[in-house]
Symmetry: C2
Subunit: 598 residues, 2 copies
């Protein structure tokens, strides 16, 4: 019997080579092959099933996570996986766990901030997981504001030790993943104090739990911070709270690559040490972008496949959504997107912290704006901007250039699109800089103009993405129709942004209202070109049904059967008459409620 | 000892009478008093506690809901509450339950669509809850598209009965709240068939479960559809699946106010019957707007209070957020907004279905657009538009009027704001109508231009809200400073929308870019006027800490203490060493993973 495939017709209509597109999406044939092999390995292993995850209690979910982490480690050892393959395996297991922090933050922090001697001592144990570590930076009262941290590490020259201490309630470490119940060690960020002097925040390796019986060491109070968003999602992670009551560690457990404390208690540092604490954070911020792309591609895959089978009113939107839009995808799925079995609620709940966990996006955008203002102010001094701000070197031209679009198809020219985005970004930055210069106190101006500065930063960031996309398309891309599809998507992306931010483009005079209307006309045409390829495009993500975890987004499109069968697995359906009927429903129906014991 | 209040200073700075503002928010002194009394009643009753809700399994959460519903009914009877007070009590219990559907949809459907005889028979039983009912309309394959429903009700003249049947998998009733485990009856929507002829969708009262032992009646397959978004949230509700296998009901259980089937099987109807099925839906849609306001005010209250105590970088935003923005509020709270104890995840998960459960907003906006196009097309015929489209009667003026703003403060004039919003809405509608007229097939044009039509509908809806707000402020509003605060908020709302949709206003020529910049300048000034009043403004919602359910939003602002203490209540913290340590963590640390049984 031929396998059922409700998407077969859509798939046959694709105008490009899906297999070649999979390689483009993965980055290289090598990456594609690793991804494909590891994803199948995970999907076929019953220990890694995740379809019952939302029905587990917190305790059972956490135990299930420990089991998966142990099994993953066992498979990594048995199959002698490389570091890259091991990372991919954890990725496809798709359940946040303490191992993410051990490999993703604890080890990198030691590598980045430890001396060679420290690395030689700690890394072999960490690589073998003889110790498990996390990254204890944020505090109850202090998130991304590293300089506000209150935990102290005071040098005691008598014993050659640091005394780690939590002086206030708000200094409690709060949020670090893997901290609550699993980690035996942590890189702890604390204010270094020698001889009464505060040298700012530094990292220290601190053992938290006994390696014999896992009990917290004396002076350590550690636990889980409780339930988070979603039913499964990040509740598999033991985000933790940690307090120190004068915990002593040897001097050589301060991470001393960039600053040192000598036996005598003298503080010495190489250069710009305060910046270095951010190293691990910046690394994580890069991953956030990749997480965004991953989570969004899953949501788009689910929404696109479901749209194609959905009966209601026919498909309203077959084109991929290019904004940070999981919630949009959920809404596109109508009511069924609200069911756990759609996979979207979990995805939303898992992805949501990406918007905050390295500081609210607004904070980051303001940092971008600060950089833009600085770059602009240096233009006069003859310093030539490079990299993502190179276009500012042409500010004079961009301030007065006119968009040459006369017909809708003119909007297909990469040079036209790029110039419009460059002019918009430049003009918004210049306008902010001009307004800022009116304030005698620049910080006051920065606060007052923050909304405009954020918008200028957004314009700059969008220009970067559009220009990188255009740049990629200058290369040769093999495979029938592959490059053509990517060109369409690039234009869709750029013109969608242009339409969404039309006010920016028109009020800065970068384009006329008429040109905006032509862009919109071209955008509609592009959508109609994407539609027949939508299913094949999301197939190119090469996600297994296990990884997607969605009845709505299943490869074969047999959506309604899966939803219907899935419903009966809910524990509430174990019995026809629900638990609680005799105590709470029958007394209502039988008019006995006044005398009922509830 | 004086009670701790971290917001005391903010509260003392308020420039208006908070008690009077509470009455404005509630709608009247009478409503305020009922709300206040009932909210306190609920908050002080230990049965209604909800702080442990996210830790319960689905089964326990559901049983807890049954208990609360029974207890609520008991209190309603004991205290002889009016229907209005009973509604408020359920509202403040704040846990979705079958009673919402019984009172909110089952009873209204019978009242609206039943004959007097039918009402006399069924309503007394329903009012006493001798029967419990729900509203079974949507199907697995068909949501808001009522005309696509597949369930059939075939008249059998031999027995004077209807035969209710589910002919396909997609015809399974799917989603109705209260259906899965509780309801004994349902108003079921099915295609009426007499003598082989399909008369479209009609409502039927169908008994689902035995009143003796609650077991499903023969031919009925009924159950819960499984986990939904969030950990608590709508998982307290038994949204259900229902299939009929030739279930027979007496002829007089068809709701016959507007259409009848005679003993002989003759179908008769009064007028426009197909419209009437929508009656209950329209009623629910009105409630959605009020739900939106309720949910958003809670989120704003939480975000505003937390912002005021938050240390990080100082408060970034003390002004109320006026968009559909719970997720925005969560992000404003930084990482802690992701904790269940913030109350925001629950609120988001509970509110999310409002965006879809009467059809995706886009579908509704397209209906609005259709209405606008119809109104516009009738202008020529001399038919004078009334109500929310009255402004279209002045279309000629609105097409060519010029905004007179010269200085930022000109944007404070209600007439200036109104004309800008009217002109924008009118011009966007006219532009759509012009483009539509170019299509020979209007439906094709409607599909092709749907994105523009949605934007025109949004512009119209925003005009309605702004104009109603302005209208309200024409009245006398007592209380020191109350009216002044509302005027500021009205201007903030209007100018925020104007800034957000600046592209609309400028490209249609309603305002110049310069006037847009002045509006933004005025908006910044207004924000600074709101800030000192922010805490007092959210106090005016008069929400109890019980109802808010948020450590971050607690009245006294003692946020960090509450978060810290709350963490230790998580079941994961019952033991220092977690369940699973011996099986899954120790083998890793001790390098025994290869031989471990996992």
């Amino acid at each position: 019997m031929a396998a059922l495939d409700y998407h077969a017709e859509e798939r046959s209509k694709a105008e490009f080579d899906v297999e070649e597109m999979k390689i483009v999406w993965a980055g290289s044939r090598h990456d594609y092959e690793i991804n494909d092999r590891v994803a199948r390995l995970v999907a076929s292993d019953p220990v890694f099933r995740k379809d019952n995850r939302t029905m587990l209690t917190r305790k059972d979910l956490f135990k299930d996570t420990l089991r998966k982490a142990a099994h993953a480690w066992k498979r990594i050892i048995e199959l002698r996986l490389s570091e890259d393959e091991a990372y991919k395996l954890r990725f496809y297991v798709d359940q946040p766990a303490f191992t993410d922090l051990h490999w993703g933050m604890f080890i990198p922090a030691i590598k980045g901030q430890g001396t060679e001697e420290q690395q030689e001592k700690w890394l072999p144990m960490a690589y073998k997981m003889q110790i498990i570590g996390c990254y204890a930076q944020t505090e109850l009262g202090h998130g991304s504001n590293v300089q506000g941290l209150e935990t102290t590490a005071t040098f005691d020259p008598q014993t050659d030790e640091f005394v780690i201490h939590s002086p206030t309630l708000t200094s409690s470490k709060w949020w670090p993943g893997g901290l609550g119940k699993v980690s035996t060690h942590a890189v702890v960020y604390a204010r270094l104090i020698t001889d009464g002097k505060d040298h700012g925040v530094h990292g220290f390796i601190v053992q938290l739990r006994s390696l014999d019986d896992h009990s917290p060491l004396p002076g350590i109070t550690v636990g889980d911070i409780g339930m988070k968003f979603g039913s499964g999602a990040y509740n598999s992670m033991d985000n933790g709270v940690l307090r120190f009551d004068h915990v002593r560690i040897p001097r050589n457990q301060m991470l001393m690559r960039d600053s040192q404390v000598t036996r005598e208690g003298k503080y010495m540092h190489s250069d710009v040490p305060t910046q270095l604490v951010y190293g691990t954070m910046v690394n994580v911020r890069q991953k956030i972008v990749s997480n965004a792309s991953g989570a969004l591609s899953r949501a788009v895959c689910i929404a696109t496949r479901y749209s194609a089978v959905r009966r209601q009113f026919g498909s309203q939107n077959g084109g991929p959504e290019t904004q940070d839009g999981i919630e949009e995808c959920r809404k596109l799925c109508g009511g069924h997107g609200y069911l756990s079995s759609s996979g979207l609620p979990e995805l939303f709940a898992v992805y949501a912290p990406n918007c905050t966990y390295e500081g609210d996006n607004i904070v980051l955008l303001l940092q971008v704006a600060r950089f833009l203002m600085k770059t602009f102010s240096q233009l006069g001094s003859g310093k030539k901007p490079v990299g993502t701000t190179a276009y500012m070197g042409r500010a004079e031209h961009l301030m007065q250039c006119c968009c040459e679009v006369e017909r809708a198809e003119d909007w297909l020219k990469p040079s036209v699109i790029l110039e419009a985005f460059e002019a918009r970004a430049a003009r918004m930055s210049v306008s902010c800089a001009t307004n800022l210069s009116k304030f005698s106190n620049p910080e006051e101006g920065f606060a007052e103009l923050s909304a405009d500065l954020v918008e200028a930063a957004v314009a700059h960031c969008q220009l970067i993405v559009v220009s990188k996309f255009v740049e990629k398309l200058q290369q040769d891309i093999p495979g029938k129709g592959v490059k053509r599809q990517l060109e369409i998507l690039c234009n869709v992306y750029a013109l969608y942004l242009l339409h969404k931010h039309l006010g920016d483009f028109v009020t800065t005079g970068c384009i006329t209202p008429k040109q905006g209307a032509l862009a919109n006309e071209q955008l509609r045409l592009l959508y109609s070109q994407v539609r027949p390829n939508a299913i094949a495009l999301v197939d190119a993500f090469n996600y297994t049904d296990h990884y997607l975890g969605s009845d709505l987004g299943c490869y074969d499109g047999n959506v309604y059967q899966k939803l219907y069968e899935g419903a009966w697995k809910d524990p509430l359906n174990d019995t026809d008459v629900p638990d609680g009927y005799h105590e709470y429903i029958r007394p209502i129906l039988k008019q006995h409620i006044r005398t009922a014991r509830l």
